[in-house]
């Protein structure tokens, strides 16, 4: 008998036959490419993988993959995904949301899916704008953002996805950038490996309504000094020369960037990244240029012994196998009488 070995899948095998319909130059293309590449590197089974999205430009994502996909309603994707995992925990479920989808209309669901720790990969495409509805400011837009709905500049303080996630009790938070084709798959793989809810914030350029929103730290000329790529167990160094590092300000719970060799600073003064340190993660997600670099990579990863759906289903299984119920017994339990 000839048992055909399954052909090795390439990134192309993870693309669907649908024409991709984002604006030319949109950062979503790069993310799609990185995801397809990641799926190929992991050789995931398309039939066991589900991409679930809300509504928005980002949320069109599932149509372009050859896996199962469910394009749901605005903001609610985490809730659909929770129902899927409670029904078939074997499925590998990814959730794709925009910043409005995840943090505005769907903020409540994101909060609860993170604290419950449902085993999902949640990808948040943050372009700091409502792309699909033509450019209104979003909950992640910086103060002063001019948009059709805020012609005089927005007034409200933006929400930080990282602080939100850590505050909600998330056990995995990572960051990357659409164009970082080398780093993004690494972060995606870590997210998938993590048993529990893993939130990945991906800075995504909306070329039409918010072009270059992240140029201040992603532009080649500044990236090395304006970003730090975290690695567990390694000193938190950055900069073109890798001569800058992070340390705690003496006497304060606050980070500062220092330069090796200046004021007697040596590598021994630089903090080592411990991705299980929640308090440090809270400081790291708050870093902003120019005084501090933007934290990239796996900022926080501290898995719980088990994920939510595993716990729920284990309880059901344990009760059902110790005293399996039959319909006959259910209907006749308690007080009954016979009429003859």
């Amino acid at each position: 008998m000839n048992i055909a070995t399954p052909a090795v899948k390439t990134a192309k095998d993870y693309a669907s036959d649908q024409e991709v319909r984002w604006c030319p130059g949109c950062g979503d293309y790069a993310i799609l490419k990185a995801v397809q590449k990641t799926l190929a590197e992991l050789q995931v089974d398309t039939e066991k993988t589900v991409f679930i999205s809300g509504i928005g430009c980002a949320a069109r994502f599932p149509y372009y993959l050859s896996t199962y996909g469910f394009h749901t309603i605005h903001g609610r994707a985490p809730a659909f995904a929770t129902g899927v995992k409670l029904t078939n925990p074997e499925l590998d479920v990814w959730v794709v949301s925009g910043d409005g989808d995840a943090l505005s209309i769907g903020g409540n669901h994101l909060l609860h899916v993170l604290r419950r720790n449902v085993d999902l990969q949640l990808l948040l495409f943050n372009n700091e704008i409502y792309g699909l509805t033509k450019g209104q400011y979003s909950p992640t837009s910086r103060v002063g953002t001019r948009s059709p709905s805020t012609p005089g500049g927005s007034l409200d303080t933006p929400v930080s996805a990282g602080s939100f996630a850590l505050g909600a009790g998330a056990r995995f938070f990572a960051r990357s950038v659409d164009t970082q084709q080398k780093d993004l798959p690494v972060v995606l793989k870590r997210a998938r490996e993590h048993r529990g809810a893993s939130l990945v914030e991906i800075f995504q350029n909306c070329i039409v309504y918010n072009d270059d929103a992240f140029a201040g730290f992603t532009d080649r000329s500044v990236a090395a000094d304006a970003q730090i790529h975290l690695e567990h167990g390694k000193p938190m160094l950055f900069g073109k020369e890798r001569n800058k590092g992070l340390r705690l300000k003496p006497g304060r719970l606050e980070l500062e960037a220092v330069t090796l060799g200046e004021d007697g600073i040596t590598e021994a003064d630089i903090l080592v990244h411990d991705e299980t340190d929640r308090a440090m993660a809270t400081l790291l997600v708050g870093m902003e240029p120019p005084s501090l670099p933007v934290a990239m990579g796996v900022v926080f990863c501290d898995p719980a012994p088990s994920s939510y759906e595993t716990g729920v289903l284990a309880e059901v299984d344990a009760i059902q196998s110790s005293r399996p119920g039959t319909l006959a017994e259910l209907l006749t339990k308690g007080n009954t009488w016979t009429v003859s």
């Binding site: 589900v50 129902g83 029904t87």
Partner: protein, 528 residues
Amino acid sequence: MNPAALKVDLPELKSGGLLILDSGSFNERNFTKAGYQQDPREDGSLDDYRIVEVDMSQMTQDALKDSGLTKKEALRCKNMWALGLVYWMFGRERKPTQDWLTSKFAKRPEIATANIAALNAGHAFGETAEMGEDLAAFSIPAAKIAPGLYRNITGAEALSWGLVAGASGADLKLVFCSYPITPASSLLHTLAGLKNHGVVTFQAEDEIAAVCAAIGASYAGGVGVTSSSGPGVALKTEAIGLAISAELPLVIVNSQRAGPSTGMPTKTEQSDLYQSVFGRNGDSPLVVLAARSPADCFDVAIEAVRLATKYMTPVILLSDGYIANAAEPWAVPEAETLPRFPVTFETNAEGFHPFKRDPETLARAWAVPGTPGLEHRIGGIEKASDSGNISYDAENHQRMTNLRRDKVLGIAKDIPAQAFEQGGSDDRLVLVGWGSTYGPISRAVDNLRQEGLPVAHLHLRHIWPLAENLGELLSGFEQILVPEMNDGQLVTLLRSEFLVPAEGLNKVTGKPFKIAEIEAAVRARLEA
């Protein structure tokens, strides 16, 4: 009755009815508290009734003087004394109540003993007291009921068990997702206790998450069920539209309460019929079923799961606060005789697309994630009828709208023809009811027919689609009267569907119809 109860409940009593007054509580203090200026026994307001005065407080205390209970504790047993008297009047067995008291107060046997003593004392009073004609025992022969095994069941239990039986009939896992709200929470509580039947329950962060998780469950190949009351169902509306568009099974239970908005959470009403049949954006047909009584919830829940899974459609099951909490005797069905309708998921990749339909039922193929070769994408955007891919084509949208409508209307072929509960086409007036008005309507029709009046009763379980023969049945009547605990909803549906001169009999006081109210309305019309 004490003065307070008399004040509130006297209007419910028919003239000539029997009033048993607890004379011990008829004092100045209680008159003032109840809002009486003077003793109602002396102002002529009770002239229309037969009155029996018994000092129940004293008699209860006397019966319990050796029980070791304080006076205050003993007086709490007064209702059992009254129940004992009523049991004597109607020739009822005391044993089930005695057993219930014993188990209810298993941890405080002295309380159980005292309550049973009070019950027995009330009964003995009836037997020995010389009350003459006034308190003659009513001999009510045992109702003619079919032989078999019986139990008491509440609406919440019957509905929960029906969902379990429905999921079992479909051979699927039941995933129940809900957010607490009165009077719907009892379903969540009951089902959370049925894990030994493999039931998964999920208390979501809100009603939207609950319905979305239920849809996710169906998408993954389970029976997704969500439940709420009107305000919560309103929140679920957008997601229900997605289930209609993506054509996924879903059961939405609505335990109705008085509205609008928060309304009167603990008062019963059946005012969410419009919300169920019409309350969504777009042309968005689904199935609506209504349970008529606590026990009926069992069969209706099974039917809801059957239709949802067979036709890939959301089904709204209407119950109400009264049905959910009331209990009634139920002839327990044999588990082996319950309906079976096992679901077969699509597995054949040849010619597959997610909106491929069964030509008979028009249901789309149900292909669940995990099935090799059937990977596909679905969502709420309109899809091409022949590929399932996104389509904004005008003709296609017309076609898909028609398909969704015809699929749901076609279910009329798969449900029982509408039958009369009582009477028939020869009668002059028909009462058309749905939901928990069943009890008072059927009693009223029974009484009126015994008087020889030409009244018939139709009671609808299937609110949408309506039974195929309903229009024809209605067209034969001179008068159609639709009693509803709302401001006129089914009546509008019937008028618009069948162009019949149906008339509403509407009541929204938070209380069920009285039999006499329905009788009076019918008489007035037949005499007119």
